[in-house]
């Protein structure tokens, strides 16, 4: 344990904020999916890694910029997500009870496939600007983190606009508030669920592309990432997008602070402890409703 200087402290908080923005994007899809169909998609981490691998693959084969590759990877993952909801999850008799196990099974299935196809070497996308650093006053900010933060905010804004100003968005919000009432006024829950799952997984594709430029990863990193995004949505309140955003920023900053004051090795415990303690002592999170009595 060491007390950092105020300069280091501010530098750490800036980095935490930037990371938090990326976490917010990664968890937005997960919380949206939970809000609409009360399904905790444990395969979200695997979809993030799949997005990261697709980006890596495109970059290695064609040199496509990781940010630009989102245009290709997001639609692909949208279709996969749509199909998973349409053909797998919708068959479950009691999705609220069994969805965790089913999506967990999906996660290890995907981990095995990705591990077989892309091997276990840790990968990351090294674009030509990967090591550039921007100096802001006396603080140093890695360019990739700044780009990641900007892209995350942009996608979150698009998501917000879809939710507020399109018919699909209105249907999604109506389903989150009250599924049976939404069905009564003519919302097709099946279609909305499949679309939401697709959109949720598409945001994971974007998150995965950002992940691939900031972190190194392999197939088994998915367990690490699923706990991070799960802690974010649990702390924020399951199903709440603004909650997820605030929680992501809090956890991002806390993680960086732990890395500086204790050691890098202990920093993941921030996520595990927040996850554990929130579910037990404040199950509704910061801005959500009580999950434990619904589950």
């Amino acid at each position: 344990m060491s007390i950092p200087s105020s300069h280091l402290l501010i530098q750490t908080i800036i980095l935490g904020l930037l990371v938090g923005g990326v976490y917010a994007l990664m968890s937005s899809g997960l919380t949206l999916i939970f809000g609409v169909m009360r399904v905790i998609n444990v395969a979200h981490g695997a979809f993030l890694i799949l997005g990261a691998y697709l980006t890596y693959w495109l970059f290695q084969l064609t040199g496509l910029d990781p940010i630009l590759s989102i245009v290709l990877t997001a639609p692909v993952l949208f279709l996969i997500g749509w199909g998973v909801q349409r053909y797998v999850l919708s068959r479950l008799e009691n999705p609220e009870k069994s969805s965790v196990l089913v999506t967990f099974a999906l996660a290890i299935t995907m981990e095995g496939l990705m591990g077989t196809f892309w091997k276990t070497t840790m990968r990351s996308v090294k674009a030509e600007y990967a090591s550039e650093v921007i100096k802001f006053m006396t603080y140093r900010i890695p360019l990739t983190r700044l780009i990641g933060f900007g892209a995350a905010l942009l996608v979150l804004l698009i998501l917000y606009l879809i939710l507020q100003h399109t018919n699909l968005g209105r249907a999604i919000r109506a389903t989150i508030q009250n599924p049976s009432a939404a069905e009564l006024v003519g919302v097709n829950i099946q279609v909305v669920s499949a679309m939401t799952f697709g959109i949720g997984i598409a945001t994971a594709a974007v998150g995965g592309s950002l992940l691939s430029m900031i972190y190194s990863f392999n197939a088994s990193s998915q367990t690490d990432w699923i706990t991070r995004v799960l802690s974010v949505i649990v702390l924020g309140g399951m199903g709440s997008l603004p909650g997820a955003f605030i929680a992501a920023i809090i956890l991002g900053v806390m993680e960086q602070l732990t890395a500086v004051t204790v050691t890098l090795y202990w920093s993941p415990i921030v996520f595990y402890l927040f996850l554990f303690l929130t579910l037990i002592f404040r199950p509704q999170g910061l801005m959500g409703e009580i999950v434990r009595e619904k589950a």
């Binding site: 797998v88 099974a105 299935t109 496939l113 077989t116 367990t223 579910l279």
Partner: protein, 329 residues
Amino acid sequence: MKRILFSSRFWLVMVSIVLLAYPIAQHSQYYQHVMIMTMMAAVLSSSWNILGGYAGYTSLGHAAFFGLGGYLVALAHNHYGWHPFVSAWFLAIIVMGVALILGWISLRTQGSAFVVVTIAMVFIFRLVALNLPNITNGARGLTQPRPGWGGVQWSPEFIMVPFHYIMLALLCLTIFVSWRIRQSKFGLGLIAIREDEGKAEAVGINTMLYKVLAFGISAYFMGVAGGIYSYFFTYIDPQFIFNVFTGVTMVLIALLGGRGTLWGPVLGAFIMEPLGNWLVGAFGGTQIHLTIFGGILLGVMLFMPLGILPTITNEIKRRAKVRAVQVQS
């Protein structure tokens, strides 16, 4: 003859004879090893079943207690020279104590939230084991001396035999306890919690006490098994022993055989564990066995949610009913 073939006592005796004679009749080290791992899987899955099957609380985090047992036994062996075959049974009581506390905290959640809490539990245990190198030797893991008794090391030809019988003893104890629980008022209470926790509470069952006890009892057997396992392999490390995949395997085995039945987890273990061993052998270095495990789990959840045993017994009951109707008319 037909009556004998269908009596469960006959099968129990047959299986016991086979398991008792196995290491004498089967000299291949590989198959002896597979049998020990299969019986261990049956122990883990049966004890998971006490909470996950009877009470309906799906824990993916029981690997935490397996690993804790492994570490306690390895540490006691290395520092105090306690023989794991003896100490595992006692040190697992500590594991049970830890589980009672963690259960008391985590069983406030239900359903999906409980599953997520138990996943987090494994990661916390792993992180602690990784980051306390003075005690656990960190990521490098702990080694133990080669197995033996009273200063004499067991020869490579003999080494599987004592492990076979101690694992068999543990398996018998686990099944016996699971059977006694199933027969008792305690077991009925757990099943009532699974069916409708609110109503169970309303008819006067202390649901929290029942759930926490089930959690502790299932953790006890995890601890013993983990202790014997750590001695069997003489090496454990945090990445391997505190693994969510271990927890998923127990759940898959119980779901496949029949969740909430006495023999389902045992049947599941005798199917999945040899299959898993074969898969790892056949596909060696790749991770395709993960995919196959995940695929089987998906298939069971989607197409046979009750598991093998209940599906079969339901079918037999249905046919008996059809026959009875035919006889009447």
